[in-house]
């Protein structure tokens, strides 16, 4: 058993609804059967868990006002749920759901909903393969269930904000989200994680996405937590026949972030596109592990991740494409590019192909480089100063990925926020807005 988080598991109370206890028990068994990852554990080769080796308490409800919390978030126009330290804050949330959409706490589930949750929960995120999915199960007391009925179109984005506050003691939050999109439904979802202040917090966040036949989801997972606000978790998706997932990922660095993105193409004709950005400075650490499973024929996947790593930060990217036997006619591609901007920064990247079918087209590429000296020179010949040219180019490097976001309000929110990461002096970003 990993030598971590004993308090949390002890405290994960019997308060969980009865129908969840089975999953909790299974999670505890999986957790107990797991070994503590070391540098020799392939999945944790470049990421140490030593920062979690501290006394973490279970988070208590916060009553801080929005002004006190003072976090930034985009106005997306649809329903918004805000959680502070894991607790839903009705006063900061608003619900405006069209017919056919349910957005509820597990704790409030009626019998039919409970049945649906227990059927799907854990069917996508495999606790035996993901240590922190088993931890999530083991500590499971509550979660959020988003259920979109077949043929329903949700026009406005559904916005979920998980915020950790700053406290005297280190504490943990167990975030769990289950999304089920019925056949031929369409929705967009923004998951935003953020932190306030400098306290130590650890969020274990697991999101499961179930896309039934022909469903279409625009998904965004933004990790804006900073400092000692740590996060380990992931997004696990299962795509039914002809379904379509576009998933955007962003991680600003903090002391520790490890995000697994697992997409299982389970029905023929499914398509996924993953786009991600990681930006690190200071001594931050971000580790993205993506895994694209092609289990059936005629699916396509497309993945682009870019990172800019400064100061003495360390980024890890592991992008696996796994083509199962008989998954013929698969087309899969992955591209990972990195910029190191300091002599002490580190990138470890590993794009992997594992292929057991022959009639497939797969490719991956990875690069590590500096800003292109010819691009810098070109900008200077137009009179743009060296520092501003660097800012424009660094931002341009990730802006290509930002431009894949289809929600204008979200893109407009992120652009200045990201641009500021590249310049100490605000005049350098005056042409980026």
């Amino acid at each position: 058993m990993p030598d971590l988080m004993h308090h949390i598991l002890d405290a994960a109370s019997v308060a969980a609804p009865q129908w969840l206890s089975e999953r909790q028990n299974a999670g505890r068994r999986a957790w107990a059967a797991s070994a503590m990852p070391t540098r020799k554990t392939e999945a944790w080769k470049y990421t140490s868990l030593h920062r979690l080796d501290a006394d973490f308490a279970v988070a208590q409800p916060s009553v801080a006002s929005q002004a006190e919390l003072g976090f930034e978030h985009p106005a997306l126009g649809g329903s918004k749920l805000v959680f502070v330290d894991g607790y839903l804050r009705a006063d900061l949330s608003c619900l405006a759901l069209p017919e056919g959409v349910e957005l509820i706490r597990f704790a409030d589930a009626d019998a039919a909903q409970a049945r649906q949750i227990s059927q799907q929960l854990g069917s996508v995120a495999d606790p035996s393969g993901h240590l922190f999915a088993s931890f999530s199960d083991a500590a499971l007391q509550d979660g959020i269930f988003l259920n979109v009925a077949a043929d329903t179109v949700v026009a406005e984005p559904i916005h979920l904000v998980w915020l950790t506050s700053s406290r005297e003691v280190a504490f943990t939050v167990n975030q769990r989200l289950l999304v089920v999109l019925g056949a031929n439904s369409r929705a967009s979802l923004v998951e935003q994680f953020d932190s306030v202040g400098s306290g130590t917090a650890f969020t274990n966040g697991i999101t499961e996405l179930v896309l039934e036949a022909g469903a279409h989801l625009l998904h965004h997972r933004l990790h804006l937590e900073a400092g000692a606000a740590m996060h380990i978790g992931g997004v696990h998706a299962r795509l039914g026949r002809d379904s379509h997932l576009e998933s955007f990922h962003l991680a600003l660095g903090s002391d520790l972030k490890r995000i697994d993105v697992v997409v299982n193409h389970a029905g023929p004709g499914a398509h996924s596109s993953l786009n991600g950005i990681y930006l690190l400075r200071g001594a931050e650490h971000v580790d993205y592990h993506t895994c694209i499973e092609h289990a059936v024929p005629h699916c396509t996947s497309d993945e682009t991740f870019r990172g800019v790593i400064g100061d003495s930060a360390t980024a890890v990217f592991n992008g696996r494409i796994h083509i199962h036997p008989d998954a013929q006619k698969t087309r899969a591609q992955l591209n990972n590019r990195n910029l190191l901007t300091s002599a002490h920064a580190t990138i470890n990247t590993k794009p992997e192909l594992e292929i057991y079918a022959d009639d497939v087209q797969c490719a991956h590429g990875a690069t590590v480089a500096q800003l292109d000296p010819l691009m810098l020179h070109y900008m200077k010949t137009r009179g743009i100063g060296a520092e501003e040219a660097q800012t424009l180019l660094s931002f341009g490097f990730i802006n290509e990925v930002v431009n894949t976001i289809r929600i204008d309000a979200l893109r407009d929110f992120l652009r200045p926020l990201l641009a500021r990461r590249f310049a100490s002096d605000p005049t350098l970003t005056r042409h980026l807005a």
Binding site: D372, P373, L374, M375, H377, Y378, M379, K380, T381, R382, G383, I384, G385, A386, E388, L392, L393, F395, G396, F397, I398, N399, E400, N403, R430, H431, L432
Partner: protein
């Protein structure tokens, strides 16, 4: 305006320019012609300060200043502009952001008031029209996925927006069809004035049918082998470059 004296330049350990001397007065248009590999493009790159181009001897004064004492962007601020033969693509940075950054900096350095966003946009759109470039190109990444001709027009667009004192056009005509060539020529001609000079680096005489040069120089083996007026270009068209190379050797 520009005084180049006895310029020697080395690239990748090879001497490319070997004692080039050329003086350009205000308002003049000079054409530099020459065979492939004679150092035509090197001249533009070394004046713009491209990394990897080492000046081993000689001096260049631009508007009375020693050009090699200035950083690339400072040369641009003084009014030097190089239109590239192969402009670099910069995905992720929109043409508009790029132009605004360049124009604002130029205004600032010249002590002119900054353009507000609305007037800038208006100017950018008008200039697009003048170079026959669809306005949609303003939103795209700099040169990203542009065709050869579109890139050349984008260079012209930048030149018009930045209003340089000296523009070096590096084979701007190559790869252009006749319509595009006329657009480029019209753009250059519209900008000719008594305090602005042009250097047209070209392989073919064709461009000079549309932009009439005051002087024509032939570059061979790293130096000016022959100078003359427009008729020299016609002579070259007729006889090729080989006889000149023999003369230099």
């Amino acid at each position: 305006m520009l005084k180049i004296d006895n310029l020697h330049v080395r690239v990748d350990g090879k001497d490319i320019l070997k004692g080039l001397t050329l003086h350009i007065g205000a308002g003049e248009v000079h054409a530099i012609m020459g065979p492939n590999g004679s150092g035509k493009s090197t001249l533009g790159h070394v004046l713009a300060g491209r990394p990897g181009y080492t000046v081993t001897a000689g001096t260049v004064e631009f508007l009375g200043q020693d050009i090699f004492a200035l950083a690339t962007e400072e040369r641009a601020h003084l009014g030097l502009f190089l239109a590239y033969q192969y402009p670099v693509e910069i995905p992720g940075v929109s043409n508009m952001e790029f132009l605004k950054a360049a124009v604002d900096t130029m205004h600032e350095k010249r002590g002119e008031p900054a353009l507000d966003t609305v007037s800038f946009m208006k100017l950018a759109r008008e200039t697009c029209k003048r170079v026959d470039l669809d306005q949609a190109f303003l939103k795209r990444g700099v040169n990203e996925g542009f065709s050869g001709g579109e890139k050349k027009r984008n260079e012209l667009l930048q030149m018009m927006m930045l209003q340089p004192r000296l523009a070096i056009m590096d084979e701007t005509d190559s790869g252009l069809d006749i319509d595009a060539l006329q657009v480029v020529a019209a753009g250059v001609n519209s900008m000719r004035s008594s305090d602005r000079s042009f250097v047209l680096v070209t392989h073919y005489q064709r461009l000079l049918d549309y932009i009439e040069p005051d002087f024509v120089h032939v570059l061979a083996a790293g130096r000016i082998a022959k100078s003359g007026d427009k008729s020299l270009a016609l002579e070259l068209e007729d006889k090729g470059y080989a006889w000149l190379e023999d003369e230099v050797a």
